[in-house]
Amino acid sequence: MAATVTASPGAAPPRRINWAWLGVLPFFIFAILFIFIPSASLFIDSFRTPAGGFTLEHIAGLTRPPIPQSYWLSIRISAVTALGGGLLGFLLAYALTMGNLPHWLRPVTLTFAGVASNFAGVPLAFAFISTLGRTGFITVILRDMFGVNIYDAGFNLYSFAGLSLTYMYFQFPLMLLIMVPAIEGLKREWREAAENLGASAGQYWWRIGLPILLPSLLGTMLLLFGNAFGAYATAYALTGGQLDLITIEIGAQMRGDVLRNPNLGYAMALGMVAIMAICILGYTLLQRLSERWLK
């Protein structure tokens, strides 16, 4: 008697379960535990009464002073440093790529920019205090050698202007790092074609170069905006929490010494995440748009 060991060819193969997804399980557990749950808990409690019901009261609470002022201050400082840093970074990137500067300047400047864009937080605040603080190096030189007291003239490092100046130190190098490859993506043929058709350098930039770079320029400025908007350490170390940025306000809320309403704090954090999400989304979309031409 022959044993029928093999399955008949017509039978369905045993169902194969795809176990491949198990390989990414640790990553997803990590993301759920340390990204999703912490943010979701803030999100949910922004809409919850102490008793557990649904409410929009905390979101409405964001419109009561001093919260809108804090958001507005953060938005202004982020906008100013994104525009200022963006403009300076772009012009510097232009100078490095198109400006006929000596070749060795390029790698040196880019390395410097890599360092400066990562040199932030408390040490950066210290550097500006040592330079432009009341007894800082430059303040004293201007006072003793030129007779100019910048603090009498209305400058104050521990203010909007001072913090903007400090933020710019990491803003424009970041712009430079992103814009140099973008400008280099402009094809030489486009410029030659424009010149052959009689365009001046100005016309080329205005009609061809800038429009192609525009998505990248705007996108990177959005990134800079988000970069400044989420900053905490630099502002805290520079002003000791005196300047009411939204990050400082959230920090104070966590220390438990201001609003006495934790849910309002969660709503503030939620508002921050919403603004950051718009920035990063805008950056991603604009960057994708610019890749159509530059690649």
Binding site: W21, G99, T111, L177, Y232, I280
Partner: protein
């Protein structure tokens, strides 16, 4: 390089902006350096550095932060290398999802992240009334673990991009098949085949993580850990010259990290170097 007539004319313009940029870069550093030498009246000396380094709290917090950075790098590698490898090899459809997750830390600033941590994990964690794990801030070890997880989140975008760029540069499928046909298991493939090929990518990701983590303020402060960032912030409140000295030291360390990254990647990953926690 193109040498059109319009270009030479604008050379002064390029120099002007280059000089403005250079002044902006250098003046605060120069100012801080000179300031840091003025601790003793009338003479330039390294007294501020000596005094800063003589503080045992400096060494304690600095070593603590370096240890946390090291643990963060190890946790990131364990988490990201297998994931990025597996997504490339077997689950390409998950790619957009994983990439989206690695971008989330840009959307959630550290101050908000630590807020969420405290809210979710300072009490025992329960799911549908079932306690799953105790409060993560109840003892030092667990709080340090939470800190490292927070730093791993901060480092995620940079690490993932570095590893993914590294994987793109090699033929993952062929290398895997070759190793398998020689009898290698998954552990051997990752450890002996993939990792060595990722060396420069991993090194640059690790150095960037270092630059981000040592000196981080928000997460360490609100988890109340004795890290270097909070130590520096406190020092700034009651000293003048020592903070300047340590700012110069920090700048030197950042420079060292970035220089090493340039060295190991030969400049190919300049675009992945973007900002940490400010």
């Amino acid at each position: 390089m193109h040498k059109g007539t319009g270009m030479k004319r604008f050379s002064w313009f390029a120099w002007l902006w280059f000089m403005i940029g250079a002044v902006y870069f250098i003046i605060p550093l120069w100012g801080t350096f000179v300031f840091s030498l003025q601790k003793q009246r009338g003479v330039l000396s390294f007294a501020a550095y000596q005094s800063a380094f003589a503080d045992p709290n400096f060494w304690e917090s600095f070593l603590f932060s370096n240890l946390m950075a090291l643990l963060t790098i190890m946790a990131s590698l364990l988490l990201i290398v297998p994931t990025a490898y597996w997504v490339r090899l077997r689950l390409p459809r998950l790619r957009p999802v994983v990439e989206f997750i690695t971008l989330l830390p840009f959307v959630i600033p550290p101050i908000v992240l630590v807020f969420g941590f405290l809210k979710s994990y300072s009490q025992p964690f329960t799911l549908f009334g079932i306690p799953l794990f105790p409060s993560l801030t109840s003892n030092t070890l667990l709080t340090n673990f939470l800190l490292v997880m927070g730093y791993t989140v901060l480092a995620l975008p940079y690490m993932y991009r570095a590893v993914d760029n590294g994987l793109r540069a090699m033929d993952v499928a062929t290398l895997t098949e070759a190793a398998q046909s020689l009898g290698a298991g998954w552990g051997t493939i990752l450890w002996r085949v993939i990792m060595p090929n990722l060396r420069s990518a991993l090194l640059s990701g690790a150095l960037l993580t270092f630059a981000i983590v040592v000196g981080e303020l928000a997460i360490a402060t609100f988890l109340a850990r004795p890290a270097f960032g909070p130590y520096l912030a406190l020092l700034g409140n009651h000293r003048a010259y020592e903070p300047a000295a340590l700012a110069i030291v920090s700048f030197g360390l950042t420079w060292l990290a970035m220089g090493l990254i340039n060295l190991v990647t030969r400049g190919t990953q300049a675009e992945s170097i973007v900002t940490g926690a400010h």
